[in-house]
Symmetry: C2
Subunit: 325 residues, 2 copies
């Protein structure tokens, strides 16, 4: 009988500590539930590994125990926390949760764009100060959004922003024209030349060697002083100290951040003190029902695996994401 190891969080207070639906495999597979401490032992003889504890970095140190592993499924869109050289070089297939988060995250981005344009953060501050201050705000129709990352989340975001009348461009590995969702895609190497075009610069890219530190001090300096940075990709794609300085000195206008270089955001981060940020605790995709949906997505993929069919959402381990078909 095939063996499926399931890594759950060590935190016993976690409300969704156990994925639902694993009883579907009864009589067809041995399911080994383990926390990170038990992972080395659980991996011995395991054919598949389900990372329900999706940001765990425990796999690398347990790797010598993976003596017959064929497949790892991660219940997250980004696999950067999992990936390491031996895994990339191995025959093990990695799949992820692509698909589920696209629409919720695209909605979060549209909400952040509107909240910035309509100055909701300032209205919330003025409420606590009992101040009635009329301002002229912005129309988003015709505003310009530049989306870094042309994967599934970036594409859904592009479609949603276009549906409300915004002008959209993409930023990808290679420049191209007439993309069905983005129209023009500029190369990430040329981002500095193009960043000034955007009213909203949105990072929807996975963390890879190409995107680490991509939104540098230079890119921030090239942005419009009123512009808005949205990050729903990974914190490490932004030079966070440079971002803090840009927000403090008027280099850019506002930042809506769902991800950070260190999470939870450390208590001494200067971001907490800024009025011109939205700090969201890495939850933009986690809409009601997310947990059950991610478990279901794994069960569906495991059914394919047990039946010998091709898996869904196979990650290109060199690129760090699921390539577009």
């Amino acid at each position: 009988m095939p063996v499926i190891a399931v890594l759950i969080p060590s935190d016993t207070s976690s409300p969704e500590r156990m994925p639902p639906g694993l009883d579907a495999f009864e009589g067809r597979a041995e399911v080994r539930i383990t926390d990170p401490d038990g992972l080395p032992q659980a991996l011995e003889g395991a054919d598949a590994l389900f990372l329900w504890d999706f940001f765990s970095e425990a796999v690398e140190s347990a790797w010598p125990h993976a003596d017959r592993l064929q497949w790892i499924h991660v219940a997250a869109a980004g696999v950067d926390k999992l990936m390491f050289d031996e895994l990339a070089a191995s025959q093990v297939t990695v799949t992820n949760a692509q698909g589920f988060f696209d629409r919720p995250i695209a909605e979060f981005v549209l909400g952040a764009v509107l909240a910035q344009a309509k100055e909701f953060a300032l209205s919330h501050r003025y409420r606590t100060e009992r101040r009635w201050v009329h301002r002229e705000t912005r129309r988003i129709q015709g505003q310009r959004a530049m989306i870094i990352g042309t994967g599934a989340i970036g594409r859904e975001t592009a479609r949603l922003l276009r549906a409300v009348g915004m002008e959209v461009r993409g930023v990808g590995r290679t420049a191209r024209r007439e993309d069905p969702d983005f129209g023009d895609v500029v190369s990430s190497e040329e981002l500095a030349e193009h960043a000034g075009w955007a009213d909203h610069l949105i990072n929807a890219a996975p963390l890879t060697p190409q995107t680490a530190g991509l939104i540098s001090a230079e890119i921030l300096a090239a942005m419009n002083p009123e512009a808005h940075l949205v990050n729903i990709g990974r914190g490490e794609s932004v030079d966070e100290p440079a971002l803090i300085e840009a927000l403090q000195t008027g280099g850019i206008g506002f930042a809506s951040l769902d991800v950070f270089a260190e999470e939870p955001l450390p208590q001494d981060s200067a971001l907490w003190d800024l009025d011109n940020v939205l700090i969201s605790p890495h939850m933009s995709g986690d809409v009601v029902g997310w947990s059950a949906a991610l478990a279901e997505q794994f069960v569906e993929n495991a059914e394919r695996w047990l039946a010998g069919e091709t898996l869904n959402n196979i990650v290109d381990k060199d690129r760090g994401y699921v390539p577009r078909h």
Copy 2:
């Protein structure tokens, strides 16, 4: 030469105190600029009146001096502050600023809907407390929005909410089906029976005898405890004390308010103390350029008037808004 009186605010510090573009009439009309104190005198012999000071209530008391007035143009979408019985009974034509505000206000509503679904207000509060609290938020795709008021602003709002995948219903004077923008329209008299359907109840109605107090304690009690009230119509359409109580006791979840029974919102209003409100100082439609656009809209209508053509945006004085063609 025809005489056009232009009412400007008495507040000399007002940044947009004078409407631009009136020099267009030089040699073709006498333009009399006046503040509210000078209005009675300015109205004597005036053929037209432009209420640049659009919320002024000065016209009623100056009315006996209007000896040859044909036309009043109000630089606002709502004419409730202007309207009084003698004006309604007179032959004077009233026009308004319908059109300009539709899209900016629809964007404000969509922004408020997303901000409520994604809990941005709570994220702003947690930032000031340096708290990292992951929550499950909501997907707006498939959520239900009920829009009170089937005029131009309500329609643009319906179209925008549908464009992002929400389910929409209208509330109007008469029930009907297969409306091109709303689908189903329920009668405002039956609102209590239908209010529980909505995730978001949006007031986009003008203030008329039918809509004054429409969102009563009974309607609020019929709403879902997690539901969201958005008011971009008029404050007097809501029972504000009942709304405060509903927000305090969990009768509804959140309110995004751009209009209030008294404006500016009084310092002692309990709304300032609530965490589950967005207080916006009657500015949802006032996007950058609004002032110039409203002046231009008047100049265009005045050109039609000088040429003897039919005016744009003629208000049905009994209904209190521009009827749909």
